[in-house]
């Protein structure tokens, strides 16, 4: 059973993605139950695979019995297993939040929504688990196609934004594909582990440089790294709440994971990839600051969170660029932490919009009394984003900072601190309206309108995760993330 776990994690949601829309023709509730159970099974399988890998070493699965490097292999190591578990667990939270009728402003009918959502999860899990460069491209496109359909279900503005994302996303995927073609021409293999061995012999060629540039640009677009983030704010703003909650939480992270996988596990450490990382470092410093400044300028709270995501992607890539063990730990912890925090924030904000129709920050007056639990969750997650101890956000930023100090990159240190201060500014604006400003005089105080339980519970679970994993950060770092570092840096 354990031997088949790597493929089960991907195949289960894929099979359900086909079956669920069919079941929904008979009963929407049954379709919802199947979707929930499948995602829960995928989550259990990834957690089980992760714990097995941490105890016994990497788990490899040869698809169809073809031995690598000829066949495609799926690899669960502490890095891919950890990210897969993160994706599956957040997917469970989001599908419960969406519920059988898909609350939160999606025009897709329940069964179609759940089918597409399962397909999106399949694609993301596949990107994470595959050990084959071309297979990664296929999963990248599977997840993107499902995401386009889901994002477009949020009304006409969402559709226009999605078309623009589709154009940019296809450019990104084609760049990645071309880069893979160059690497294949150089090495004659598509298997990541095999390619890593063979690339050292050809790392001085110009074709190798071109390959690295193409792949890095492609994945940076997908990860919405400033200044390639243009597609993100509109796409996130107009999508239905559960869709934004999930996509904002994990989709860009998975692209960042792919970037990390290629630059640290496939390409040789010196040469073109080192130069690419240096460039990414400078770009991400600008991303960190620009994202925070643009977030401050927004009136629409969803757009504010979207720009804050652009800044946070900068944090993650910055850690990759610094490359010291502490910085990499910080990056991976932030990848994990930001997924939980941003998922929580977007679900809360989406719930508030679904319940009250309010999405402008200036209309949030009195929200602390109208929806106390949702707002409390928002506050905890926002404080974690700012980086207040003992939340998860504090510890990831702490590791990143100590990594930057270790590397002697003082400019990066300044950027990190400054961006946290800017985070205080734009989140406290929301707090001020929600808790301190009274609703306009003369108007009757709006009644308490808390979200229904199935929407509230996932938000509170994610909020608890922000606090619990913050307190347990030693265990997370020591038990999983340290083992996920590339060979030379692992203990």
């Amino acid at each position: 059973m354990t031997a088949h776990l790597p493929v089960l994690i991907v195949v289960l949601p894929l099979a359900a993605a086909v079956i669920v829309p069919l079941i929904s023709l008979a009963s929407a509730k049954a379709a919802f139950a199947v979707a929930c159970l499948t995602l829960a099974a995928a989550a259990v399988a990834s957690c089980k695979a992760l714990s097995h890998v941490l105890a016994h070493g990497a788990l490899r699965y040869e698809l169809g019995g073809w031995a690598p490097p000829w066949g495609i292999e799926y690899v669960v190591d502490p890095l891919s297993g950890g990210v897969a578990a993160l994706i599956a667990l957040i997917a469970v939270c989001v599908v419960v939040y969406a519920g059988p009728q898909v609350n939160g402003g999606s025009s897709a009918r329940g069964g179609m929504f759940h089918g597409l959502f399962l397909l999106l999860v399949t694609g993301l899990l596949g990107i994470v688990l595959t050990g084959d460069m071309f297979n990664l491209y296929v999963f990248l496109e599977i997840s993107s196609l499902a995401a386009y359909a889901l994002l477009a279900s949020g009304g006409i503005r969402g559709t226009v934004a999605t078309f623009r994302y589709l154009i940019v996303g296809t450019i990104a995927a084609t760049f990645y594909l071309l880069g893979t073609g160059y690497l294949y021409a150089l090495t004659g293999t598509l298997n990541m582990a095999d390619m890593a061995v063979r690339l050292t012999a050809v790392m001085d060629t110009r074709a190798y440089g071109v390959a690295v540039v193409l792949i890095v640009i492609g994945l940076a677009i997908k990860a919405a790294l400033f200044p390639l983030h243009g597609w993100l704010p509109d796409a996130y703003t107009y999508a239905p709440a559960p869709v934004t909650g999930f996509i904002a939480a994990v989709m860009a992270k998975v692209s960042a994971y792919a970037l990390f996988r290629v630059l640290y596990f496939v390409t040789p450490a010196e040469g073109a990839s080192a130069q690419a990382l240096m460039l990414l470092g400078w770009v991400s410093v600008i991303a960190v600051l620009a994202g925070s400044i643009l977030a401050m300028a927004q009136q629409d709270i969803r757009r504010m969170l979207a720009y804050s995501s652009v800044g946070q992607m900068g944090y993650i890539v910055l850690g990759f660029a610094l490359g010291t063990p502490a910085a990499l730990i910080g990056s991976l912890l932030h990848l994990f932490g930001h997924a939980v925090m941003k998922g929580c924030l977007f679900l809360a904000v989406g719930g508030i919009r679904w319940r009250t129709g309010i999405y402008r920050i200036s209309d949030y007056a009195g929200m602390g009394r109208r929806m106390p639990l949702t707002m409390a969750a928002f506050v905890v997650a926002a404080l974690a984003m700012i980086g207040l101890p003992p939340t998860l956000g504090f510890f990831s930023k702490w590791y990143l900072l100590s990594g930057a100090v270790e590397a002697g990159a003082w400019l990066f240190v300044i950027a990190l601190v400054l961006s946290s201060l800017l985070g205080i500014v734009y989140f406290f604006r929301v707090f001020e309206f929600a808790y301190l400003k009274a609703p306009e005089a003369g108007q009757p105080t709006p009644p308490r309108q808390e979200l229904p339980l199935h929407m509230l519970a996932p938000i509170l679970v994610l909020t608890a995760a922000v606090l619990v994993f913050g307190l347990l950060n030693q265990q997370v770092v020591g038990g999983i993330i340290r083992h996920a570092l590339p060979g030379a840096l692992a203990p």
Binding site: A152, T159, L166
Partner: protein
């Protein structure tokens, strides 16, 4: 220079198509033209891979009796990969067309500046 051009003619062709596609996707205001340019971009990537598989004087990778020399057959792997890439391209085009139908129904136009103008109102 000439040798560089003629020896790698297939690749130059793919590069030219790639640039035409990129220009169309980023530079043209009409959404359908953007979509057509996207297809050109994908064809460029497909031709690039097929060019990789090519060998002078080689035949299709189906075994000919008595011919066991690898250099007598073109490399079948890029073809197999591109079959998948073509499927991906077709699905992307399908999704994009569905989006365009919805946009056209709502705005009655597919010119991006007009759509953006009307969304601002």
């Amino acid at each position: 220079m000439w040798e560089n051009l003629s020896g790698y003619l297939n690749y130059w062709l793919a590069a030219v198509l790639l640039l035409i596609g990129l220009y169309g996707m980023l530079g043209r205001p009409n959404l359908v033209k953007k979509l057509m340019a996207m297809n050109i971009l994908q064809v460029a990537a497909i031709l690039f891979f097929i060019a990789l598989a090519e060998k002078t004087g080689a035949t299709a990778p189906i075994e000919v009796k008595g011919l066991h020399d690898v250099s007598a057959y073109v490399n079948p792997l890029p073809h197999a990969l591109m079959l998948t890439a073509i499927v991906v391209g077709v699905s992307t085009t399908g999704v994009a067309l569905a989006l365009l139908i919805r946009i056209h129904r709502h705005f009655g136009t597919l010119e991006e500046p007009e759509i953006l103008e009307r969304m601002r109102l």
